[in-house]
Symmetry: C2
Subunit: 245 residues, 2 copies
DNA sequence: TCAAAAGTGTTGAATGTACACCCATGT
DNA sequence: ACATGGGTGTACATTCAACACTTTTGA
């Protein structure tokens, strides 16, 4: 980002957004192989990547802000969003923009709200916004160097996701509308980081009664066409609200 | 609180604290019978109670702010503190202070960080601070009318606590240094809201290896003197960090 | 002597884990 | 034919829940 652009956006932010408060989104996506996180690279920051983040408008609910930021900065839409933690240490954003004037928006002390989002990898086309040079999926086990405390924010989000998957269904937002049993299992394995037994996984999922078996199969693969499933939205929602699985 | 006092504190806050950001603490305490929450009643608000809350100083870490606020407003010290959620809806603090000027600190739109705290009931003497008329423990199942969304913040905190107790040890901060097995069990029952089987509870707790049996008993009771225990701090900490119980 | 506390035993149900079998089917 | 997927059976271990028995001990 050019200096001029930074100054411009600084003025705009002071007018429209709540100061000292930011939102950072950890966007998880699944590409049938591994779990990925959506990261940006800023124009002025040659080496380090950042989380898609932004600010809360003065008349905007926090959750709406997270949704908007995600849409603007990455193109991701209609997603599962959840505030998972707050990062408010003093030194977390120190040492950045030191060469600028003190009234620069970005030089403030920020308390950031960490949101994690689950999106369907297929339905998201990473959008490179005005201030970014790159926007892409990165596998969670090969994260690049990141700015500030962003790497630990991701780790914190992943830990939260792994806890949640133990007692809440996950998948509705990470998979396409229709998917196969092996795909769902690979998703669980990617999140948890270890292999699951196929038969047991099948029974466990079926027991929760959140799947609808469709009357079609995925054609074109090398072997037997796997049956397609979709989530039963009502039961899925019920399972989300109970904390019993 | 008198109008003059409000205006005074408003000026002070604008100078020292981060705007638009507040902290509310849900302080749980256990009195050997039931689970309580520490609540304040403001001088100017005849009927409604509020959570002990406050603001984040410009050069103060979020967690430190929560600790300070708790100390100042309730006298509670050395406690277990944990940010459990953020409340950032637009209408959550609307409709208050409408009769005041717009530059009144308290009339801002606030995003509040919810902290929950676990304290030893014995070691806390509720302190009535300058702006409060009352400060006292209230049982969680008989909460009074509360201001804004404070009641739902408490419910959210309790739900978090009930989830945590399933896989993390709880008690170190809610009980005195030395306690008996029935006391610990009553705490668990108070948090969960239902009775537990004594023998099974005993074995479960012992299995986690977080208790030290002391060589003394609690004298003076009507019947057999129960054995005193204390927590093994190292193992307790280890159990806190694993998420496996 | 009575009631509470401490500790242990037992039993059946439920759940989790590992493995294996059978069938279907697309190339 | 063969590799993959779908579905089920089974056997073992672990865990949980309910209950009961014993011993200790303070007033």
């Amino acid at each position: 980002m050019q200096i001029k652009e930074i100054i411009e956006s600084s003025k705009r932010h002071w007018e429209t957004a709540l100061p000292h408060l930011s939102i950072d989104c950890v966007v998880f996506g699944f590409d049938q192989q591994q779990l990925n996180v959506l990261l940006l690279k800023l124009k002025d920051n040659a080496e380090n990547w950042i989380l898609p983040g932004g600010y809360v408008l003065k008349k905007e609910a926090l959750d709406d802000a997270a949704r908007r930021i995600l849409k603007e900065r990455s193109g991701a839409d209609k997603i599962f969003l959840n505030a998972f933690n707050v990062f408010g240490d003093l030194n977390r954003s120190e040492g950045y923009f030191t060469e600028y004037d003190d009234d620069l928006w970005h030089k403030q002390r920020f308390v950031t709200i960490g949101y994690y989002a689950l999106v369907d990898h297929e339905s998201v086309t990473p959008v490179i916004d005005a201030s970014s040079e790159d926007c892409r999926w990165m596998p969670i086990d090969e994260l690049p160097e990141m700015v500030m405390d962003h790497k630990s924010i991701i780790e914190n989000a992943l830990a939260t996701l792994r806890e949640q998957i133990r007692y809440k269904p996950i998948g509705y937002n990470l998979l396409p509308e229709e998917f196969t049993m092996p795909e769902l299992q690979r998703l669980y394995e990617a999140v948890l980081g270890y292999k699951l037994n196929r038969g047991n996984f099948y029974r466990r999922i079926m027991r929760y009664n959140i799947l609808k078996k469709l009357d079609k199969e995925r054609k074109g693969g090398a072997h037997k066409s796997p049956i397609l499933y979709s989530f039963d939205k009502d039961n899925y929602q019920k399972a989300l609200n109970e904390f019993s699985w």
